[in-house]
């Protein structure tokens, strides 16, 4: 059956190769960027969930 499937789709073997290439290139891009990430941005991003605590109020807007 495998052979039949191969015959029925032209260049089927290219699919996994394309998929791997796209992923690897994208991954390298992100990796490269992450290493160049400025420290201040990283600290800022890390701090985002830590802000705005302790100002509860029941006041209506």
């Amino acid at each position: 059956m495998y052979k039949e499937v191969l015959r029925s789709i032209e260049n089927i073997e290219i699919y996994p190769v394309i998929s791997l290439l796209i992923f690897v290139l994208f991954f390298l891009g992100v990796f490269f960027w992450v290493f160049r990430m400025p420290k201040d941005l990283e600290d800022h991003m890390k701090s985002l969930p830590m802000e705005n605590d302790d100002h509860l109020t029941s006041e209506q807007p």
Binding site: S19, F31, W33, V34, M37, D40, E51, P61
Partner: protein, 736 residues
């Protein structure tokens, strides 16, 4: 608040940085432009309450279903509460009602706070809330009635599918609108996870739900056989990924740092693992179909990408656990953190187990057994359940501006819940291995040592009892939590609005010299498009060849469309959820072909809409059951399974011998199938009823010879017709 030294350092950085930000970003403005706004806590409270209410319902139904597996009497003697219909009710309730509402509660709490703006549109928020609850209610009514497409985690019929799409789009629009109104320039990683989840679930839901309606309550899948299986498991796998995993990672990235009171361990790691995760997840679907009639190349692709998934998954787990570095002393005392630590650990366990299960040799053991059930429950009870509990215990007192009612009860919940998970999972692993070893054993004569499938099931009964106990413990824990939450709410005063202030975003932000990814984060729409592309490539490469190339599924000339009676019998089989316990897919192993017959071929399923391969064998495979037993055997077996198979755990279906089928929709069914390309002759919709009667009368007279009187239009006759047809088409070739 007590500040320990390293924390102090962090706050110092924070203050310095904010000063810097104020100088840089807000140069055209000054602090006087601080805007005041209010977060809406009411919608969070409602989603939180819905989470626990539906959670209890879903878990209770789960305990009932687990009990039915060792005590057939627990099916309660009517079609509506029988296992085949209860199981999808359980899965839908816990996935879409319990976990779904938890996701929404968490997002409606965290997103406005991360973006420093209320949710965009209150009307949409409430449309989302009530729409979602109505959908769940519709599911709770239609599934026991047997109105189902039978595709796992997508069982709901087409009108509900459309409602889901509408409500989901409202949710997404509300998120994107909020992004436009934000006062924080950068999107925190949690929001990326929310956005990716929204986009992907929308794509998955639409493609998997493509079906042609016959009536308001019945439709046929747009795909057939192998294609249907591939689309379904592309959906099923990614529903796990983008409904149960990515939204929860987003919640983890918000609530874990909050609860531990320290920032996430590595923001860089979170970026790398986000992109890798959403990129790779989409490819891994075919690992649900190893050794089936699915084309080999798709199976290989699924396996390779599944193994690759370990890396980004563990990236998330490591990041979560290391966020607690230096705070482990708090884990000892704080139930919120205890729940979260076990949740993240369970995530690590199931994301290691998943790739292992997609290796073909491991899959050969685990597929169709209780191993898969254990695997999903480590994820469901551990990861989703415990993270939800942790989040609720953290959030609830804050909504009511108080402290938790009882720390002690929360700790009790934690320990009972943890015991529940262990009691659930361990017996399932033992059951799976026991059954696999028994099924594959041959005696010295070369025959199956346990020729009757039932011999293996009987061995598993003690394990099934322990599993139900585990589920019960988990449910008791959840009940304790509900009491605790109720008391907490009573103790405090609900804060409907929470005030905050932040400067508006400067319109003239100078972005020159910024690196590309940093710029993306500021552009939510571009970012969303990019995430869509990432998931679409995975989906497309996997799906397009199978859908477009007709000859991808080798056809077998002797495979013919179902006769009208068989078709109606098949729909009855679907209605009763038989697929929940019986597969129709014989794998090419000697121990399966010896037991069930010739292994299943892709071409045998070209008229199966939907496919019914199944994913779990609590009973034997039925693909070659056709012609194996006389009609009367099926009659007695359906009436009382233990009369033909002593010790059988199958629920009895005595009403099938009396219930009369409604055949009024038969012509519509035939016409719908013709539109989908099934080669019934022109005008057959008018003649189908005649053929149905001829076949029904033949079965009635067969039964009469065995001394059974029955009417031709009873359910049992249609069911027998379908069962006797199963897997017989290729035998016709052999005879010719």
């Amino acid at each position: 608040m007590m500040i320990i030294p390293h924390q102090f350092e962090f706050y110092l950085i924070l203050i310095k940085k904010q000063q810097k930000n104020n100088q840089q970003n807000l140069s055209p403005m000054n602090d006087a432009t601080l805007e005041r706004f209010h977060y809406d806590n009411k919608i969070v409270k409602y989603f939180g309450a819905a989470t626990i209410i539906w959670g209890l319902v879903g878990m209770l139904v789960g305990v009932i279903a687990a009990t039915q597996l060792f005590l057939p009497e627990a099916n309660l003697g009517n079609p509506y509460t029988t296992f085949g219909r209860i199981r999808p009710l359980h899965t839908n309730a816990v996935i879409f009602a319990f976990v779904g509402n938890a996701i929404f509660a968490g997002i409606y709490y965290s997103m406005p706070r991360l973006l420093k703006t209320p949710m965009w549109n209150k009307g949409l928020s409430w449309f989302h809330f009530w729409g979602w609850q109505l959908i769940i209610l519709a599911a709770a009514i239609t599934l026991p009635l047997g109105l189902t497409t039978s595709k796992e985690y997508a069982e709901l019929e087409w009108p509900i599918d459309i409602a889901i799409a509408l409500v989901w789009v409202a949710f997404g629009a509300n998120m994107i609108g909020t992004l436009f109104k934000r006062r924080e320039r950068h999107m925190y990683v949690a929001i990326w996870f929310y956005l990716a989840s929204f986009i992907t679930v929308a794509v998955l839901h639409i493609f998997n739900s493509l079906e042609l309606p016959v009536s308001w309550t019945k439709s046929y899948s747009a795909y057939a056989g192998v294609q249907d299986a591939l689309v379904q498991w592309w959906y099923g796998h990614n529903a796990v990924a983008f409904f149960l995993t990515t939204p929860f990672l987003g919640l983890m990235y918000y609530f874990l740092p909050k609860a531990a009171n320290r920032p996430v361990y590595s923001y860089k790691l979170s970026i790398v693992h986000f992109w890798s995760l959403i990129f790779i997840y989409m490819w891994a679907g075919p690992h649900h179909l190893l050794y089936t009639a699915l084309p080999e190349w798709a199976q290989v692709l699924g396996t390779v990408f599944s193994v690759m998934l370990i890396a980004p998954s563990w990236g998330g787990m490591v990041n979560g656990l290391l966020t607690l570095r230096g705070a482990w002393d708090k884990v000892r005392n704080e139930p919120v953190l205890k729940f979260m630590v076990v949740a993240v650990t369970a995530y690590g366990m199931s994301t290691f187990e998943g790739p292992m299960l997609s290796l073909k040799n491991v899959n050969a053991i685990a597929h169709y057994t209780d191993w898969i059930v254990a695997h999903v429950h480590i994820g469901g009870l551990g990861w989703n359940g415990f993270l939800t509990f942790g989040m609720l215990y953290w959030m609830w007192p804050r909504l009511f501006k108080t402290t938790i009612y009882s720390q002690k009860l929360a700790n009790t919940h934690f320990w009972i819940g943890t015991l529940g998970i262990i009691f659930y999972a361990l017996p399932m692993y033992v059951a799976a291995l026991t059954q696999f070893l028994m099924l594959r054993e041959f005696d010295e004569m070369g025959r199956l040592a346990y020729g009757n499938f039932l011999q293996t099931v009987v061995e598993l009964v003690p394990m099934y009892i322990l599993r139900a106990l585990g589920g019960l413990l988990y449910l008791i824990g959840a009940i304790i939590m509900v009491y605790n939450m109720y008391k907490t709410a009573q103790k405090g005063v609900f804060q409907e609005y929470e005030e905050d202030q932040a400067p508006a975003l400067a319109p003239s932000y100078n972005a020159t010299g910024e690196f590309w990814h940093r710029a993306w984060e500021r552009k939510p729409i571009f970012f969303t498009v990019l995430a869509t592309i990432a998931i679409a490539i995975g989906g497309a490469i996997e799906i397009i060849p199978t859908i477009l190339v007709e000859s991808n599924v080798p056809t077998i000339s002797s495979v013919k469309p179902y006769t009208p009676l068989e078709l109606e019998g098949r729909d009855l089989y679907i209605k009763n959820g038989c697929v929940g316990c019986h597969s129709q897919m014989i794998r090419p192993f000697r121990f399966e072909t010896e037991r069930y017959g010739e292994y299943s071929k892709a071409g045998e399923f070209v008229y199966d809409r939907p496919f019914l391969w199944g994913s779990k064998r609590t009973g034997p495979d039925l693909h070659r059951v056709g012609g194996k037993y006389p009609d009367s055997w099926h009659y007695f077996h359906m009436q009382d399974p233990s009369s033909m198979s002593p010790g059988s755990l199958m629920p009895p279906y005595p009403w099938m011998t009396e219930n009369i089928m409604d055949y009024s929709d038969l012509p519509a069914k035939i016409r719908t199938l013709q539109k989908l390309g099934v080669p019934y002759p022109e005008g057959y919709d008018e003649k189908a009823m005649e053929d149905l009667d001829v076949q029904a009368n033949r079965i009635v007279s067969n039964l009469k010879e065995a001394g059974v009187e029955t009417l031709p239009h009873t359910e049992i006759v249609a069911m027998i017709a379908y069962l006797q047809r199963l897997g017989t088409d290729i035998k016709a070739t052999a005879e010719n």
